[in-house]
Amino acid sequence: MNWVVNNLDLIGQLTVEHLRQSALPIVLGFLIAIPLGWLAFRFKLTRGLVLTITGLLYTIPSLALFVLLPTVLGISVLSEANLIIALTIYAVAIMARSVADALASVDPAIRQSATAVGYGAWRRFWAVEFPLAGPVVLAGLRVAAVSTIALATVGILIGVDNLGYLFTNGYQRRIIPEILAGVIATMVIALVIDGLLVLAGRWLMPWAPRRVSRARMERLALRVGEPA
């Protein structure tokens, strides 16, 4: 573990880079997934379309997506933009489905009562449906956040420096503690972000039960699995 102690600044630097590269896809993914998820929920036509397309995109292995995106978008393969767009796509794929499921899980009786009391469609969405769907949306957000942080390490294969650098550099120099430090650092920040999201959820949605219905959470987790 000597190596770790001697290179704390390198690890710290890379961690900051890593967080920066992961934050944008998670936030963007969330913002894009809400309207997409709503579309998938609201109209039967778009439901099939959105879910099939996001499902397909999600199926594409990361290394292949890193090549396909630049071909389609005209950016460089070996660029940070490539990584961020790819990560965003995966995040959207995970969260669109969870937003759609979350909205579908809201009791239709409640929706009807809201309309009866006088809410218009827009306000009803933001004031009633979305908050009630909140816990499941948060579950999807957590899965997406953790997956994005872990997946971002593959960026080193396309020349983007983040914690993944510790993997290839450690492999070249045969320094096991270096790779281990990278793995652990990635896991730690993923789990910390996950914890922060849980806390944010409790803070923003104090009415929500502390534990989302387990069956629901597991089925959600199952559907999304983990991208790689």
Partner: protein, 303 residues
Amino acid sequence: MFTARNKGRLALGAAVVGAALALSGCAAGDPLDSGDSESGSSDTIVIGSQAYYSNEIIAEIYAQALENAGFEVERNFQIGQRDAYIPALEAGDVDLFPEYTGNLLQYYDPETTATTSDDVYAALQDALPDGLTVLDQSSATDQDSYNVTGTFADQYGLTSLADLANVDVPLTLGGPPELEERPYGPSGLQEKYGVEVAFTATGDTTVEDLLAGTVNIANVFSADPRIQTEGLVTLADPEGLFLASNVVPLVNADIADEIADVINAVSAALTPEGLVALNVKSTVDQESSADIATAWLTEQGLI
């Protein structure tokens, strides 16, 4: 959801998210730049390096030497493949890069026939685009070379690639994946030495595979310390299959004169054995590039 109390919380939450977004956006710079670089002020010299620990050490040496001479230096290491950093160099986002004459020449002129150290250096100067130039090359080399284990060499009396014709067992060549298609790969061996080899991509574990017998010839970079520590025999290359590949500073033509003295002194002091020793410090002693660079520069009296 929009109770008075929650509105405040939501607003705060939105502000935090917005700040996070803004920060990540700011730091990212121009997303279309391959390679993570920002153009510094004209006084700052941006030094890059390949995704190769040995190259990073040399880059760090350049960096510290320049800093010692009073220049402002910005490090942008581990940029990766030539496809990533050459455009950055040509665009002026990176100013200085430790390179290798032979490999760089092949990048710009794949059909080149130069093979000796001086020929390659001269051809390189011609092949480079305007705006880029090279300073003095160093005697230190880190080039492709074919090696066999000591035992294998003794068994078949091998000292040069020409001797491979005497080997009666099937030959398998190991090396990085792209070696298969390189002009000095299996096709080159066939042409220049009449030797047929099969190819296995062994990548970063080439030396281990050679020692284990998975392959019997391996492409090992000449500055790899394990050639000596494992008693490998580098086969001589009388037909000039390989281009000589000396360490050379690739530099933005605008600043070439400014930094020439400092960097040329470094290049002159760097020897093949010296480079191997530096690599040993990184892999065996696991020291960081910065420490290795400082120690070496002090030893050479350049700091």
